[in-house]
Symmetry: C2
Subunit: 350 residues, 2 copies
Amino acid sequence: MATMQDVARLARVSVSTVSYALTGARPISQATREKVLAAMAELDYQPNALARGLASRRSRILGLLLPLDERGLGATESAFVTGAAATASAAGYHLVLSPVDAGDLDGLRRLASQRMLDGVVLMEVQVDDPRVGVLREARVPVVLIGRTGDTADLSYVDIDFDRTVRDAVAHLVDLGHRRIVHVNHSAAALAGGYGPALRSRDAFAAAMTGYGVTPVMIPAEESAAGGRHALTTAFGRAPDLTAVLAMNESAVFGILGELTAHGRTVPDDVSVVSMVTSPQVAELATPALTTMTSPGTAVGRIAIEALLRHVRDDGTALHQELLPCTLEVRGSSGPVRRQAVGAPRTEHPS
Amino acid sequence: MATMQDVARLARVSVSTVSYALTGARPISQATREKVLAAMAELDYQPNALARGLASRRSRILGLLLPLDERGLGATESAFVTGAAATASAAGYHLVLSPVDAGDLDGLRRLASQRMLDGVVLMEVQVDDPRVGVLREARVPVVLIGRTGDTADLSYVDIDFDRTVRDAVAHLVDLGHRRIVHVNHSAAALAGGYGPALRSRDAFAAAMTGYGVTPVMIPAEESAAGGRHALTTAFGRAPDLTAVLAMNESAVFGILGELTAHGRTVPDDVSVVSMVTSPQVAELATPALTTMTSPGTAVGRIAIEALLRHVRDDGTALHQELLPCTLEVRGSSGPVRRQAVGAPRTEHPS
DNA sequence: GCGCTTCGTCGAAGCGTTTCGACAGACGGC
DNA sequence: GCCGTCTGTCGAAACGCTTCGACGAAGCGC
């Protein structure tokens, strides 16, 4: 493995000149640069990343911090990750994937103090997230995917739940729906301060109230069974419901199944809109789901771009951006039926 | 940020003693060790990972190399990644996620020569994969997830397609099925030497031949539409089919839809077994899919464990392991119907 | 009590870069 | 023709750690 020494020797220049030729930190004459480049090519020289990082105090490594519970990544989160990885790589940075259990602040502190990460993207942010404080204390540049409650002096990229919910509701209202049920993430997620659950709940309540309708909102466990159960509850609270807004990618399939079990067809009797969902998942259902399609890799990309700006200039302004999900109408939503009001049946099966 | 110097000064020992106390590379008396540890605690000392890596020639960073096409990670691959990340992290290593386009050998060479990665796990391996050669040339320890054609001197972890297919076929045969159709990955994947597609095809052919039945095998694009199309073809080639073995997670939902469109119910008329599938995905379908459940995070974990052994001892033997998928019977498979033979209908819709 | 190991510690030499101050020479203004 | 400015290059000092050889102090057998 050739070193800079070797290159310098071969090119008959000093080591520092090689360095300048490589980084452009100081002007180098055309002739010298060419000699150096030739020597590099001949020796098949590659700079040692660690040495470079030590001397320059920049590792060119970014961290992607996310809690890694056993249920793994959903399609949406996985798109964030791949978007981030691709962007970092294209910019000549490495992206390390660091599982940090939300509670393990000491581990995080250790990670941050190793000086290995030039900056981090923090995923799965809670509304009140202690990890942010730890990172700030360690003076590591941070960009959030998601938002804390107090967004005053942090950069973040997040989904615009407010707008997404409004657009989804508007779609359903345009189709004539009024009795719309919001099936949220789990009660535990709500209690734990999970942003998407909280924000979409509030946005939904506001939107429905705006239309003069009392909002019906039900939490659901993150599983098909959770969705089924939530729907049973929904029929209890709003037997005349004609539409469901599902926040919860896992639950939505249970919802579809339970609708069928209740003798309702989709979209003729009940419309379903799945929020923050990827097209791939939407196509899995029959009929294919009308979704608010999540911005996917763009979220990860924008987060890394913002982080790079912080890492490089340091003085840059905050980047705060909300990306809306876009409505994609597929087979699961349609106009409300004329005679709809008055529930066809009121039994409570299994 | 405290350095080792600071610790040494405070503990009134030399820098090297601090290093030995930290790494255990040489024996240190109990008394001295305690002094050093106390000093570290007081200064809130964290070793600088880069300096450590430069001096010891071990970065404690592993790479996870995978092509990152726009369609992102499936549930199964995503489990590999999270399993790997969790294991690396638990072992005190960092895991960088490096998107390497399958063709970009130069980029890979550069990555490998930076001396930043102690070893790499290579995912999405082709049967004839040039990346392996590049890595070997750069003397970077490698573990594959998947296998090349010539497995002689490489460590790998892979799914045991042979056994998985045999078990799945046995399950269906036990239920009385004989006309079983194998819906594979896309023709492009087959042509490109994608291991899972190739191996499962061969295993299926062997298994069916073993039962004295001519195998029916059809490739399908990785989408619901691909599944639908494949099924139409299937009905053409085997109108009396009673079971489908689906390799292709995306296509399987299309298959289910198309079965319904053909007037067949699952599992009464046709049984469906989804290969190498996660339970989460299985639950999305109605009825829930009988699957050969993929080993999920275990694959990533084992790959990292093997890689760490290579990185540390260097001399260790190869690790070659095949993990079978385990049969989980859910609602999509059942006994063949008595009068089954002789197709109910033979129309070719849409 | 003698030399021999063994144990615990130290000092110094790297590891392969970046970066800082210095400086020689070319250049232009007046 | 002299001085001040740039340009392009060099040498050396970091960066914060690991590791090697050396060495005094014990501990041992005989």
